[in-house]
Amino acid sequence: MTTRQFGAPVQRREDPRLLTGGGRYLDDLGHTAYEAAFVRSPYAHARILEIDTDAAVDVDGVIAIYTHEDLPGAVGEPLPVLIPHPALTAARTGYPLAKGEVNHVGEAVVMVVATNRYVAEDAVDRIVVRYEQLPPVVGIENAREAAHLVHEDAPGNVSAHLVQEVGDVTSAMAGAPHTLTLELDIERSACMPMEGKGVYARWNSDDESLRVYSSTQTSTGVRACVAAKLDLPLAKVECIAPDVGGGFGVKIMHPWPEEVLVPWASRNLDHDVKWTEDRREHFISSAHERGQLQEVTVGFDDEGRMLALDVRFWHDNGAYTPYGIIVPIITATQLLGPYKPGSYRVEFFSLYTNTVLVTPYRGAGRPQGCFAMERTMDAIAAHLGIDRAEVRSRNFIQPDEMPYDHGLMFQDGRPLKYDSGDFPASLAKLKELVGWDDFADYRAQAEAEGRKVGLGIGCYVEGTGVGPYEGGHIQIETNGRVNVATGLTTQGQGHQTSLAQIVADELGVPIENVHVTTGDTRRMAYAVGTFASRAAVMSGNAVALAAKVVRAKALRIAADALEVSPEDLEIEDGVISVKGAPGSSIDLGTIAVMSNPLRYAFDEAAKKATQFAGTFDVEKPPIGDDDEPGLEGQDFYSPTQATFANGMHAAIVETDPVTAEIRILRYCVVHDCGNMINPLIVEGQVHGGVAQGVGGALYERMVYDESGQLLNASFMDFLMPYASEVPFIETDHLETPSPLNPLGIKGAGEAGTIPVTAVIASAIEDAEGFPITSMPISPPELWALRRAHARKDAS
């Protein structure tokens, strides 16, 4: 037997190429291209009075300068509202280039195309834009107060208001023996992929076709938008995601203004054009996430069981809502985690501010929801004097209650129905891993040494693998090479490895023969994209289904040739043989030759398929009625609902009694993403996720001043954790397979990030003995909290 690949810790096959500089990222492409640079708004909110490009026109090497007035037809219209929702009553999107008004610092106002970026930047410097400043709305409180409006026609700065309720919260709350209210605050952060965005477009005037390369998480999405904006037949537009240096969500947003403008300019100028985002542009003109104010009221019994949960929160959606209200919807639904709330009411307001727009960032609303729920769990435990793990345990959905329907609508418009999970088992593993029951001793010992330590915990459930679908296409060449294509994109997930493992198993071929292409509309025109921890679930199952199609075809052709029944055949190492009679065999390459009857031979192998080779039955047509030439096939995977992965994290932190420095001593993860295709890759995803979570918990924030200027728009001032700040991560896995898909898998991409803020807050609270309600938290903030609580205690 060939060694089964599924479940094996196969080392990432793409790494040798990427680690030795063989990657081809967006800016590695297009050596002959003109390059674009943008004049961006220096004001958070202003009217554009005049744009004077005179001084820029004469710069040697400038090819074109565009303002909104130059944009024809659909190119000059507002960018699409990608995900409409009935509650999104005041959706607003920007224009590719600002039309009359700017709504955040960094909004593109003028596009310059020049022979290279240096020239383009010089020209940008010479363009003078006169503005009339308007009062900016910065911060959730100001947006809520609505003394000024971001969009005159969006009253109260509200883009959306949504209420969901399950059960009768009012009466359940009234009848609850205990109630608590928490006011919580969570700051902005951002994806910060190593490679920013970038677009490279090649218009071919000879055949009037357009090829677009974009550093995107959805090449099919970009393709469709570009074709629509430029009024081109879809067949004349192809979009390719080359190697992408990280996405984390920001690149699922599309089309970015540049994704419309660069292809349009390429056609307009009949020349290839490229734009590569620089870091400052990424800070001020891409997207952020996370910022919310939350108010949680919970009613519970003497045992700590929730009877009613009433949540209101205010979500900062930035200046525009092109991605709809996906993030607050996810917060509202995924907040519940592994718990039964008794009855649940959740209401949110999505608010406009004059800041960079907000679209999903790894975790996508879940870190905020988890923070609200887990802070609530700790508050119940503190109120009743019950162990924090015990309170959680008492509220868990039990394994025999699966599938568990919360009665809410999830982000995919389908029921929030958990498919699988064993929360008590996960908690038991976590307590064992971190030494939960021995912590009191550890703390006593630390205290004796004058040290302050705390233990924190956080649990989450993550809807992963949302639809609508993904496809797989597999073609076996005459030399036995297996070409696999799926339409979603890759930005570090290791699809070249994990998807190849699945196909190698299904087809019975060595993994070395399997070559995976992602994010290329020339190879797979139907796809959605890489987000919501969905690639393994969606494309993993799609390529598995496609492999089954191809396998069946190969066996059918081989059965004819070997004059046996297909059921008597097996495939191993790329060779089909009769079970029990290994001498009677035929390799897949030969089957590929036979699958494609030829008139013309192009190589030795092909001769066997030509018309005088005598290899066919003259009574039958070369291609049967229901058949197609070629050893290839495709299939699509489209589930009825999302799969729900889950996990529980615990951390031990130490806070310096004098400086309030916060150090993570231990970080433990128990993770359940169903069957693991590749535990090494899952582990890597968890590690990367925790690292980003640590950033969100302790370091990263977007510092806006009252005028809407982002003050820390560089890596000098925006802190990301280094290896020195990311703790050693101890992991354990529970595999409860999803019943929803043939492979039994659930997503893993965002898991590591989701609970970290909640866990660190819990641990700091445990160390300090006062509530932590606002995250991220810095040493100066902790120090100030200590002083405030000391004063309160003294008085």
Binding site: P42, Y43, V105, R126, R280, F283, I284, D705, M716
Partner: protein
């Protein structure tokens, strides 16, 4: 961004007051000032070359002096924009006699800095601005002490109007600054890059904006 500071000048209050309202003096003393044009009573347009670190450029700005309470206090409103960013500032300036003679000049500036310089240069701005303000006041003091020895005569923008015939500077008078100020602001070990300043007229005139040239390493 709020910046406060004070400097002690050797000249008496009256002279400092007068100098601060004299566009010719301002043009001479403002770091990076290329030109200053009166656009109305106590209103000027100016062009300043300034920068923080590598983010440098030429700013066109407007300055207006209001709320004059001679010779104790005044308010300057300044705004400017250029390739590296934008500045809007309100500066309250107070003058008081110094015990040992001379003048204590204190200021409170509230500046909004936008664009590249706001996002990238932010943490350097307060320090740079304070330093530039100090340099400005020193230059002002020296200018008073030397009676404007190196004064530059105003050139009237109106053709044919001889500069010498302008008894008092009128609207449209243009005063040349000393902008590329060689060796003006050497930050010790700073690597010969251009550091910042201010559009600052009085406080640095104004709030000071962003930067002027620093001495280059030879």
């Amino acid at each position: 961004m709020k910046i406060s500071g004070s400097n002690t000048l050797t000249a008496p209050v009256d002279q400092v007051w007068g100098a601060m309202l004299d566009p010719a003096v301002l043009a001479r003393c403002l770091p990076g000032c290329e030109s200053l044009t009166t656009t109305g009573p106590d209103e000027y347009a100016m062009r300043v070359t300034a920068g923080v670190a590598a983010i440098k450029g030429t700013y066109d700005g407007q300055v207006a002096i209001t709320d004059k309470d001679e010779p104790q206090s005044l308010r300057m409103k300044a705004s400017g924009s250029g390739a590296p960013g934008t500045i809007d500032a309100v500066v309250d300036v107070r003058l008081a006699p110094h015990d040992g003679g001379g003048t204590v000049l204190s200021y409170d500036a509230d500046a909004t800095v936008g664009g590249t310089i706001g996002g990238v240069g932010q943490r350097m701005l307060a320090g740079v601005t304070r330093k530039m303000a100090g340099e400005f006041f020193t230059a002002l003091d020296n200018d008073i002490a030397t009676g404007g020895a190196v004064a530059v005569e105003p050139e009237l923008a109106m053709a044919g109007a001889p500069a010498a015939q302008a008894p008092t500077p009128g609207v449209g008078a243009v005063y040349a600054g000393r902008a590329p100020a060689p060796g003006g602001f050497d930050l010790g070990d700073a690597k010969g890059f251009v550091l910042g300043t201010v559009l600052g007229g009085a406080l640095v005139a104004i709030g000071v904006l962003l930067g002027s040239r620093l001495g280059r390493r030879r």
